[in-house]
């Protein structure tokens, strides 16, 4: 137990651990100190100077985010002097900011906008001295509009410390200080893995997804096109919060209804291919286990993780499942199986994916993901873009009557839906791998050891006829490094990995915390959305992927069996080695099956 100290904030006495900062102590008793660069999920940097407080005995105000509490400290959070300081700071920031709020992607969600409003700042108190520079539009996933950047550095913290991707940095110094990629080469020519956590933590509209909304509307409104849509597991637990429903509301049927009303020709579900992924990846895993493989199998659903692996851990590429992500499996089936079943020319099919993810936009454009002769996925919309679409269509989401999806590629099990939370793919895979090895179903399908937000989770599962299967789950790429470094070490020293099967998700919390999720995507809301997915899983009639009737049907009518020749051709992929310097492909490191 850490030592505690007595402090007085605005006259309120409280006893807190001595390791706490003033802002944390104030938050604890509901005293909100205005802030801008501080975010409770990230280590403080003290860059902006908005959170200043007066401390008795100190001649000048101190920044509450990075000043620790001390015994007997008397703190004042609101005074004439502090109000004036804070206003001046915000006025100076606005004087060097591209103030175009009504058309900004972050409008109404912008922390600078609401702070300026709360503090009663005059936006024209100082003349605007911004010298406009072009936005970095090099990336397929993320746009960085430097004119909206306030230099708070949250993107740098999350990119370097939470994700250890090392794409963004502070460049130059003093008044010239700005955020940049190395040699100003742009996000596309950096090690950026497109995870989009920078867009989540950016307090303004400086970092946001590359929008594909106009192209999707155009396809929908084109009578020649047949537009089919899929939605990732986490979408159904992330929409309600934007429309006045409680955080973590489970709304798949409102989601289907909204999509149909928007005008999609066919409303299906990514959860269906999540179940299919389990059949392909689970079979791959069981084959490896039976062969006594010393190298682990690592999941392949998260496109941020895949590019990270290609950049920083190419030596482990052969350990990564060759199974495409559920999104890309859906994409390729929409232009083969679905096109055949419906008798539609695949050239007329536009396959749209709604994802909690910015990296999926990059994945969709990977040239190798085109095994049907057409690109697997045509457009990817983030949850934020989809919310804008619902609003543009004037849909009252909270009150729209429930509807069912279209049939064929939409039925899903509880195993499919938990893909959206960290540990979910592992849990789903164990449920089916157990069956694939033993021929019987697990009695208790709740594998709680792999749930929750601990950075690295480990479990050991007894599989009769095989023995102990050791698994690990990591979410957030700095946690992934911890697991991968131990795999490397195990392979180098003992010739085997400490785990048989590993799940890695690029984003902290898994897809519920994805870079495309609604603004205000902090750790607490990720946890709540994750619980919502487990709640949905508990309430679904089928909870194991191998019992999904539509999945069984697609094997019976089209693919044959898991890992069949056709399945390997359409549903599996291969990987490349990338330069740490600029993220570009330098070599093909694994090869396509067959």
């Amino acid at each position: 137990m850490a030592k505690t100290v007595n402090v007085f904030i605005d006259g309120h006495h409280l006893e807190v651990p001595e390791t706490m900062t003033i802002i944390e102590a104030a938050d604890k008793i509901g005293i909100y100190i205005p802030r801008l660069c501080y975010h409770p999920d990230l280590p403080p940097t003290g860059n902006c100077g908005v959170c200043v407080v007066e401390i008795a005995g100190n001649p000048t105000p101190k920044r509450a985010c990075c000043t620790p509490v001390a015994e007997g400290m008397k703190i004042v959070t609101n005074s004439k002097k502090l109000r004036s300081y804070r206003k001046t700071v915000v006025e100076m920031i606005l004087s060097n900011h591209d103030v175009t709020c009504p058309t900004c992607p972050a409008n109404n969600k912008c922390e600078l906008q609401s702070l300026a409003n709360n503090l009663g700042v005059d936006s024209e108190a100082l003349p605007n001295i911004l010298v406009k520079t072009p936005a970095d539009e090099s990336s397929l996933s993320i746009i960085r509009d430097t004119n909206k950047c306030i230099g708070c550095g949250r993107c740098i913290t999350v990119c370097n410390e939470v994700q250890t991707v090392y794409a963004l940095t502070f460049a130059e110094r003093g008044i010239d200080t700005h955020i940049d990629t190395a040699f100003s080469q742009g996000m596309a020519n950096s090690p950026c893995v497109n995870c989009g956590q920078c867009t989540v933590y950016c307090p303004t509209g400086a970092l946001h997804e590359r929008s594909e909304l106009d192209a999707v509307w155009e396809a929908i409104l084109d009578p020649e096109k047949h537009v089919i849509v899929q939605e990732a597991p986490s979408i159904r637990v992330s929409l309600g919060e934007e429309f006045g429903m409680p955080l973590g509301s489970v709304t798949p049927k409102k989601m289907y209804a909204a999509l149909r009303k928007i005008g999609f020709d066919s409303v299906m579900d990514t959860n269906f291919t999540a179940d299919l992924t389990i059949m392909e990846e689970g079979t791959e895993c069981v084959t490896k286990l039976k062969a006594g493989e010393k190298r682990p199998l690592i999941t392949s659903c998260s496109p941020g993780w895949i590019k990270f692996m290609e950049t920083y851990y190419p030596d482990l590429a052969d350990c990564v499942s060759t199974a495409k992500s559920p999104m890309s499996m859906f994409g390729v089936l929409s232009k083969t199986y679905y096109a055949q079943e419906k008798g539609i020319d695949p050239a007329k099919i536009v396959s749209v994916a709604i994802m909690p993810c910015t990296a999926k936009k990059f994945e969709a454009r990977r040239p190798e993901l085109s095994d049907s002769g057409f690109q697997d996925t045509d457009y990817v919309l983030t949850t934020r873009e989809f919310i804008r679409m619902i609003k543009e269509a004037g849909i009252d989401f909270a009150n729209i009557p429930d509807e069912e999806p279209d049939e064929g590629m939409s039925f899903y099990t509880g195993a499919g839906t938990i893909f959206g939370a960290t540990g979910g793919v592992m849990e789903a895979a164990i449920r089916s791998a157990y069956y694939l090895v033993t021929g019987t179903d697990l009695q208790n399908v709740d594998i709680t050891a792999v749930r929750g937000l601990e950075g690295v989770k480990e479990a050991s599962v007894d599989v009769p006829g095989f023995g102990k299967v050791n698994v690990a789950v990591a979410h957030g790429l700095s946690n992934a490094r911890k697991v991968l470094d131990r795999v490397r070490e195990g392979l180098a020293t003992k010739g085997e990995s400490p785990w048989h099967f590993i799940e890695i998700m690029a984003c902290p919390g898994g897809c519920v915390g994805g870079g495309g999720q609604p603004y205000g995507n902090d750790i607490a809301s990720r946890a709540r959305r994750g619980l919502a997915l487990y709640e949905e899983d508990r309430n679904l009639p089928v909870r194991m992927s191998h019992h999904n009737p539509e999945v069984l049907k697609v094997y019976e009518k089209f693919l044959g069996e898991p890992n069949s020749k056709l399945a390997l051709k359409l549903l599996h992929t291969h990987y490349f080695k990338r330069s740490v310097f600029n993220g570009q492909v330098t070599a093909e490191i694994t090869h396509k099956h067959g």
């Binding site: 090392y166 940095t169 130059e172 110094r173 040699f183 740490v580």
Partner: protein, 151 residues
């Protein structure tokens, strides 16, 4: 070449500044290229973006090719009071370039520097490792012409 420079130093992060200096000093264009940074990053196991942050933080480093002779005119107040802005105007006319630019013949790059510590001889400028003080417009012209003649 870059690798050889790196290997003179232990692969410790605190050697970064020294390595970068040596790379820049031996480069005929007095700069540190992206390729050099890539090599140093691998040798010291420091991310490329962190090295770029260091490179752009310190004004003595350049990430762009520079001329054979680097002119650094002092921009501190004592030199300004003694007329450094006239020297700047003269240099711009003589060389046909602005601050931060390099002449087409690759002979000169014009930069500012902070105080050189010889305010008694203000206004001053540095060309490569030599300091020139008590500058007048005539003296500036003479110095430039002398260097041009040396080529």
């Amino acid at each position: 070449m870059i690798k050889e420079i790196c290997q003179k130093y232990a692969p410790r992060k605190d050697n970064l500044i020294q390595i970068l200096h040596e790379i820049q000093d031996q480069d005929p264009q007095h700069y540190i290229s992206p390729e050099a940074v890539d090599t140093v990053a691998e040798y010291l196991d420091i991310p490329v973006n962190h090295i770029y942050g260091v490179l752009t933080f310190y004004t003595m480093y350049s990430t762009k090719p520079r001329g054979k002779n680097i002119i650094r005119l002092c921009e501190s107040p004592p030199c300004y009071i003694k007329g450094s802005d006239n020297m700047l105007r003269k240099l711009k006319v003589l060389l046909g370039i602005n601050i931060g630019e390099t002449t087409k013949d690759g002979l000169f790059t014009l930069e500012f520097t902070s105080c050189l510590g010889v305010c008694g001889n203000a206004p001053v400028m540095m060309i490569n490792d030599d300091v020139y003080g008590d500058l007048t417009e005539e003296k500036v012209e003479e110095i430039i012409e002398r260097i041009r003649g040396r080529r």
